[in-house]
Symmetry: C3
Subunit: 318 residues, 3 copies
């Protein structure tokens, strides 16, 4: 999330009751997750395992639950519970103030765009020109839609991330991490019916220009989709994943989180992508392999009885 | 389904034109499916195969298409077509009288709860305090929502069960069994966008406190979900299944009907659970096995060509 | 798509700026895809590979980008870009003129049918008698719904086909082919919550009488479903496929495009149907095989370690 205007780090420290150490004159430009932070950003870390990564990331300001050394020019904001501090900042700068009209007065809708009945357009949503938003679509606060975009009926743009902090005092439970990112949909994207595209937790979920999705597709938070991809029905993509340009995912493919699918890869129906895969190749299986390797496997499995007979001297299990 | 007040069994017998045998002075407290019946309940049975189970269940009153012996204190309601008798009772005591307002006047909504535009709240729905019901959500009649519940846009709570009576006179066809159960959503449950949670046929579908679901998740009728479970996107769970506490189902997992997943089980993405599985373990595959066993299988399959070469003396199929 | 009244072929030729050769006195009754065309129809072809198939199809009028011979009684409409000519005809005869009311004035709704709040009923939609259209359902223009049909909350009927023309000048991109077909839902069909049924590109998507679908089911464009089928939750069926009567697809089954599933076939959960399969049999797997064959395969795979030990003399990989 970018602040509308840079905020003095002292203001943030006061808001969250932090002890401020280091660059106390700095201005904070935004707040972001560790793997998306940029110079000027605030990040948070509460586990010793990640202290070093966070302190040495691009983040200029670090909310942390210890005092430790850090590079010059940065600042630490020391608090007992960095997660709660993060939540406080988000709820202060991006409060949940739902519009109670179907089309918010702060939404902007470009020339030639049609918003059909039953569609909800939240606060500060921007829709470009010549778009069609079909009935019963929901576009939540702060999402940005380009030109010539079609969103078919019932789809939801900007639902909150499925992102929880696990707590284990007495029993396991989960605390929602507030989503302050957005969904950015570039020009000429077409989204099928009853799809769901989650907003980023703190960065943006991005759908690249010209990408087309069939119905009931799910795109997780902070995921970045390239240009001119094709996703068939019921594809599901988890959070913080990168899909490069021209990727084709056939029906019911599942893609795990924080991985990359290279440019031009094709993944056959019902496959499961659990690790990054190279572009320019064709994949199949759950987990995926290159399709022609996976196909050979099917042939080999069918030969087991023949092997068995040769080795064991009988077609039945000895 | 519980009746608002206990109903004399003679009233029920008259409604469905049944011959009443046995405890004719009793009061019926509710109507339920065989595996959910309690003392005071009415159940129905129309197939000789299930006569004995039904008569000896907890049900006090049995709608049946034969005269047979039964335990003292119970009553039989003898009719030609128990299924039709059941439908008649449901449509009399739980008639379909849809509210034609977006928020029914008989719905109750707790303090601090926000119902966003386009959300439909049916008759006798109860929503606790500090909930958020996002745009274009549908919550159908009689569903009960706890406190601090979040339901994201486009989700449907209380759709009818997918439950049909197969008829084969002349040709196969299916007759819908009326759903008179409810959906009960406990405190601090969070439901993603475009999910669907079916009501129970005659019992309740229950989502335990603290459970979180991602988008496009489907929960079948009469299914009981424990506390603090996590279900990732596009998970589907069939009817009358039990998921104990702290179960984690990753994306696109499918779970069959009337089974149990034990406490703390973890099921990897795209797996299929067709029988009950123990808690505390990690599973993968369709059908599932323990994940580490399934992983070994992948290794063994890759060794078939080596076996073939050793046995057949050539890498190619002889 | 059928025209409301037959149109002189000269009118069409003028609309698209085509050179007209052959039967210039003919009347065009409709426009259709190659595999759905009938006598009197207009079809289009732009690739030499399909010239002959198209010219010799049932189509009477062919939009084409070459001059070639053709059977007597037919006509060619020669243009540079047949795809664009097709788009122009569709947008002229089936223009997108969205109703801005939740229930269009041109929709007709039969006696005893209930349209619940938040449901959108488009232009020229026809709904029979005794139907229930639940809240937040979307039924788009020109769809035809029979009697005693139930459509549960959030479902979308008549979304556009996922059908694109691939263009590769400079970079790959996709151009939407306008959908001018309809969805026809026959009597006593019941559709679950948050399902999506795409309209045909130029023909109709048809759901046969008595068929029942659970939630989150996706049906592609131009697909024809038989009578009294059962589709469990999250089934996905691609475009232009034929499912015959009494077919049962269990949860999360995926079915590819342009194939046929024979009468009475049963496909177990999570299976993938990539080619046509015969009726009357039970299937499992991705891709499917007959279920009992597939089950044997699971047993054979479990025997590999035993084979390995016998051949290699050790349980571990040599």
């Amino acid at each position: 999330m970018r602040f509308d205007n840079p905020v003095p780090v002292t203001t943030i420290a006061q808001l969250i009751g932090a002890e401020l150490i280091g660059n106390i004159d700095g201005y904070v430009t935004g707040i972001n997750e560790l793997h998306k932070v940029e110079f000027g950003d605030l990040a948070f870390v509460d586990h010793p395992k990640y202290y070093s990564t966070c302190i040495n990331s691009a983040a200029t300001f670090i909310i942390i639950n210890t005092k430790t050394c850090f590079p010059e020019g940065k600042a630490l904001l020391v608090v007992d519970d960095p997660f709660e501090a993060y939540q406080k900042i988000v709820s202060f700068y991006r409060p949940f103030t739902p519009s109670l009209k179907m089309i918010s007065e702060s939404a902007s809708i470009g020339a030639g765009s049609v918003i059909m009945p039953g569609a909800y357009i939240g606060n500060h949503v921007s829709i470009g020109s010549n778009c069609i938003v079909h009935p019963n679509v929901t576009i939540l606060d702060h999402c940005i839609i380009g030109d010539h975009v079609i969103i078919q009926a019932g789809s939801v743009i900007g639902s909150d991330a499925f992102y929880y902090n696990k707590k284990t005092n007495r029993e396991i439970h989960y605390k929602k991490m507030a989503s302050c990112g957005r969904v950015l949909i570039e020009n000429a994207v077409e989204i099928g019916a009853n799809c769901t595209i989650d907003r980023g937790v703190s960065h943006d979920t991005i759908i690249g220009a010209g990408t087309k999705m069939d119905n009931l597709v799910h795109i997780g938070h902070d995921t970045v989709i390239g240009k001119n991809c094709l996703f068939a029905g019921q594809v599901g993509i988890a959070g913080a994943t990168t899909i490069e340009d021209n990727v084709i995912l056939w029906g019911q493919v599942g893609v795990s989180k924080t991985l990359t699918i290279g440019k031009g890869a094709v993944v056959y129906a019902q496959s499961g992508v659990k690790d990054s895969i190279e572009g320019g190749k064709v994949y199949f299986g759950s987990p995926v392999e290159e399709a022609r390797e996976k196909m050979k496997e099917f042939v080999w499995i069918k030969r087991i009885p023949q092997l068995w007979e040769k080795v064991m001297g009988s077609k039945d299990k000895g």
